[in-house]
Amino acid sequence: MNWEVIGIWLGALLSLSLYSFLYKDNPFYKFAEHLFVGMSAGYWVIYTIMNVLVPNWWQNMVPPSGGFQPIWIIPGVLGLFMLFRLIPKLSSYSRLSLALIVGTGAGLSMTAMLQTNALAQVHGTIISLGTGGGWFDWVSNIIMVTGVVCGLVYFFFSKPHEGVMGGAANVGITLLMVAFGASFGYTVMARISLLIGQTQFLLFDWLPTMGINL
C-alpha cells in the first residue's frame, strides 16, 4: 500500500458514496456530503489567505523588502469591518465594507455588461441580409435578425403583449424555445464526457488496485 493507492481508494470510495445519492439519500452520501462541505470550506479559507490576503494585502502593506505602506491599512480596516457582523453592537460598520463591494461590482458590471452582452451582440447582428449570397443564406439571415428583434419584444414589460406586439413576442418566445432546446441538446455530450471520465477513473485506476483488470 503506497500513498498513490491510498489516494485512489479515497477518491473512489468518496465518488461511490456521492453516486449512491442517485438511488436515495443514505448514510454514505451524508458522510461524503458533510465531508465535502467541510473540506471545501477549509480549502477556500486557506486559498483566500495564501492567494489573496498574503500577496495582495499583507505583502503590499509590509513588503518583504522592508518598509511599511500605510495606505493598505484602509482595505484591512474595511475587511475587519466585515467581521464586525459577529458583534451585534458594531455590525452596522459592515455596511461600509458592503457598500464598497457592491459599488465596485455595480460599476464594473455596468460597463462590462453593456459592452459584451449588449453592444457586441447588437454589433454582430448588424449584417447585410445578402451575406453569403444564396437564397438559403437570405432565409438564415432573416431568421437571425427577426429572431433577435422579436426576442427583445418578448422582454418588453411596460406594454401588454397584444396585437402586433403580441405576435412579435410570440415569435420571440417560440424562437427562444428552439434556442433552449438546441442549447440543451448541445450540452448533453459534454455532460456525458464527464461521466465517462469518472467511470474511466473507477474502471481503469481503481479496479486494477484490487487486481481486476478489464
Binding site: L35, I74, M177, A179
Partner: protein, 205 residues
C-alpha cells in the same frame, strides 16, 4: 442618516469603475479599487467559516437531526485549515494530497451527476404537449443526433442541420436574452450607484 456614508461609498466606488473604463488616465485608480475590493471581500470568508462551524457545533449541542454528521464537517474543515496553515500547501504536502485525492474526485463526481440529471430532465420535460414544446423537443433532438455518428448514419445532412440550428435560431435567441439581461443589469447597477435601490444594506432606517 446612518445610510448616508455607505451610499456615498457605493456611489464613489461605482463611479470610479465606470470612469476608469472610459478615461485611460484613471486606470490605475480603478485597478487599486479593484484590489481593495478583493481584499475586503476576502476577509468575509472568515465570517462564513465561523458561521459554518457555529451551525454545526449548535447541531451537535442540541442533538439536532443528523447531528452525527456534523463532526465530519468540522473535522474536514479543521483538517484542511490546519494542514494548510502549518504544513504548507505545496505539491506533495498533506493539504495538496487531500485536495487532489478527495476534493477533486468529489467535485468531478458531483459534476458528472449531470449526465444522469440531463437524461431524467429530458425524459420528463421534452413532451410534445403543444407546438412550442414540440419545437423545443425537436431542436434538442436534432442537435443531439448531430453530435454522434448515429446521426449521420440516419441522414448524412443531420450534422449540418444541427450546426445550422446552433448558428442561426440558437444564436438569435441567445443574443436576445443577452441584450435584454444587459439592460436589466445596467438599470440595476444604476439604481445601486445612485442609491435608489438600497435594501441590500438592510435595516429600515
Amino acid at each position: 442618516m446612518r445610510l448616508a456614508i455607505p451610499l456615498t461609498i457605493t456611489f464613489v466606488a461605482g463611479m470610479i469603475m465606470i470612469l476608469q473604463f472610459f478615461v485611460p488616465a484613471t486606470q490605475s485608480l480603478g485597478e487599486s479599487l479593484q484590489e481593495w475590493y478583493m481584499i475586503v471581500a476576502s476577509f468575509a470568508i472568515f465570517l462564513g467559516a465561523m458561521n459554518l462551524i457555529t451551525v454545526h457545533v449548535h447541531k451537535i449541542r442540541f442533538r439536532a437531526k443528523n447531528w452525527k454528521y456534523s463532526p465530519v464537517t468540522i473535522a474536514g474543515f479543521a483538517a484542511m485549515v490546519l494542514t494548510g496553515l502549518f504544513m504548507g500547501i505545496e505539491t506533495g504536502r498533506p493539504f495538496d494530497f487531500m485536495f487532489t485525492t478527495m476534493m477533486v474526485p468529489m467535485g468531478a463526481t458531483m459534476f458528472s451527476l449531470l449526465a444522469f440529471f440531463v437524461a431524467s430532465a429530458a425524459f420528463r420535460a421534452f413532451r410534445a404537449s403543444n407546438w412550442r414544446a414540440t419545437l423545443l423537443l425537436a431542436s434538442a433532438f436534432i442537435v443531439m443526433l448531430g453530435r454522434v455518428p448515429i446521426g449521420s448514419m440516419i441522414w448524412n445532412r443531420i450534422p449540418l442541420v444541427s450546426e445550422w440550428i446552433m448558428q442561426v435560431p440558437n444564436l438569435a435567441g441567445q443574443r436576445a436574452v443577452m441584450i435584454g439581461a444587459a439592460m436589466g443589469m445596467v438599470a440595476t447597477s444604476l439604481r445601486m450607484i445612485f442609491g435608489i435601490e438600497r435594501s441590500y444594506l438592510g435595516g429600515t432606517d
